[in-house]
């Protein structure tokens, strides 16, 4: 995993998304999810290319049930974009890079 992608947990989530300078796209994922693995490299690329505009972070749903339940994640991968700690946009299901960037456009 690249240095730019933070690993969040139930304990660190709130503080992290509230204090971030840029919007944070949180990737809800798990080890056993094939589509989650497919989008991992895409998120790394976006993280590198959009530095300063958007931050990418990951939350393992297996280990962090509180945050997963709070946002009613029922399908993975789910990506939720937070701005000042508030969810702004929800992307359910894997996407190609171009399509994901298009959905995020407003925040880039």
């Amino acid at each position: 995993m690249s240095e730019g992608i933070a690993t969040l947990s139930d304990a660190t989530f709130d503080e992290h998304v509230k204090s971030a300078d840029t919007p944070v796209l949180v990737d809800f994922w798990a080890e056993w999810c094939g589509p989650c693995k497919m989008i991992a490299p895409i998120l790394e690329e976006i993280s590198g290319e959009q530095q300063g505009k958007i931050e990418i972070a990951k939350l393992n749903i297996d280990e962090n049930l509180d945050i997963t339940r709070r946002y009613e994640v029922m399908s993975i991968p789910t990506m939720i974009l937070f701005k000042d700690g508030e969810p702004q946009l929800r992307v359910v299901g894997a996407r190609g890079k171009a399509q994901l960037l298009q959905e995020l456009q407003e925040y880039l």
Binding site: C33, G34, P35, E72, M74, A94, R95, K97
Partner: protein, 320 residues
């Protein structure tokens, strides 16, 4: 102008990646247009990306996870020099050679790829129910991927719609999490193989609802149930479920070749003589041409056939 490749392979399931291994080992430097990530079976690695234990692929005595098997196929193809484009073919021109392939929405005069020989292995994708509520609740309790989403339904009552091997496989997998799994099938008997049926009937958590079709996926912001009709009595019913998994069959991904490659009534590409198609230089393998066997091993076998056919054809055409 783009470079002209000897072999371009469209699709990256067992068929496409086996074709890649064989053509790479023949030093044809195949380019695999592997598809784009999605949460449906139409994604790099294909349908196996949404499965867990594959127990019938020879050589893996204790079984292997579907995504891991596909990762191995891909690594093996890469090891011999296959390269990958993580996009989907959006348009092809097979009217003259080299064949031209576009992988974006803007179909400029210049294609993105050109190929002397083309191997089509675009596979099949899951059918959806096409009933009200389905697309709105996808990802909110309605799922096409049991292995991705089963986790979210611990100790809950859920449904699987379908009666074939993949429906039974999903139902059995989901009993690891759910309190009950109701299998909703429009007929009185299953299409699934005998061994899968035996396993399902022996599983106490699986309940069967025969002769039943789904009219609507019900739910406000997330799934709360299904509205169904019994096809024999005509009786309508509302059933409460917090999760619904759809596994009602497949449809071939042949749309991009419309009007260029011959297909049968169901859209499967027709083969002549091994893996050949009606267009010289275009070969086809895997589930996009097979509605009978549809196994990882048969897809891989047909991928090998397509690679050998393509290699011999290139050689005869003076490109080998």
């Amino acid at each position: 102008m783009p470079d002209i490749h000897d072999v371009v392979i469209l699709g990256s399931g067992p068929a496409g990646l086996t074709a890649a291994i064989y053509t790479a080992r023949a030093n044809l430097k195949p380019v695999v247009v592997e598809g784009e990530p999605s949460s449906t079976s139409d994604q790099p690695g294909g349908q196996l990306m949404l499965t867990t234990d594959v127990e019938n692929y020879p050589g893996f005595v204790d079984g292997i996870m579907g995504p891991e098997l596909m990762e191995r196929f891909r690594d093996q193809a890469a090891r011999f020099g296959a390269t990958f484009v993580t996009r989907k073919a959006t348009q092809v021109d097979l009217s003259s050679r080299p064949f031209r392939i576009w992988t974006d929405a803007a179909h400029d005069a210049d294609a993105d790829l050109e190929a002397r020989a083309l191997i089509v292995s675009t596979g099949a994708r899951s059918l959806m129910l096409n009933v009200p509520g389905e697309s709105r609740l996808l990802g909110h309790g309605l799922s096409t991927c049991a292995t991705c989403d089963g986790f979210f339904f611990r100790e809950q009552d859920i449904a699987v719609v379908g009666g074939g091997d993949s429906a039974i496989e999903e139902a059995i997998f989901l009993t690891r999490f759910a309190r009950t799994v109701t299998l909703i099938h429009r007929r009185k008997e299953l299409r699934a193989s005998k061994i899968m049926q035996d396993r399902a009937f022996a599983n106490e958590k699986i309940v069967f609802r025969w002769d039943t079709v789904v009219n609507e996926v019900v739910g406000d912001t997330k799934v709360s149930g299904l509205s169904v009709t019994n096809t024999i009595t005509g009786e309508e019913d509302k059933l409460a479920f917090s999760g619904v998994f759809v596994a009602i069959g497949h449809v071939p991904n042949s749309g991009v070749f419309d009007g260029q490659l011959d297909v049968d009534e169901a859209g499967y590409i027709r083969t002549t003589e091994g893996s050949r198609t009606n267009v010289e230089g275009v070969f086809v393998c895997g589930d996009v041409q097979d509605h009978i066997y549809r196994q990882a091993i048969t897809a891989a076998g047909s991928g090998c056939m397509a690679a050998i056919d393509a290699e011999r054809w290139l050689e005869a055409a003076g490109h080998g």
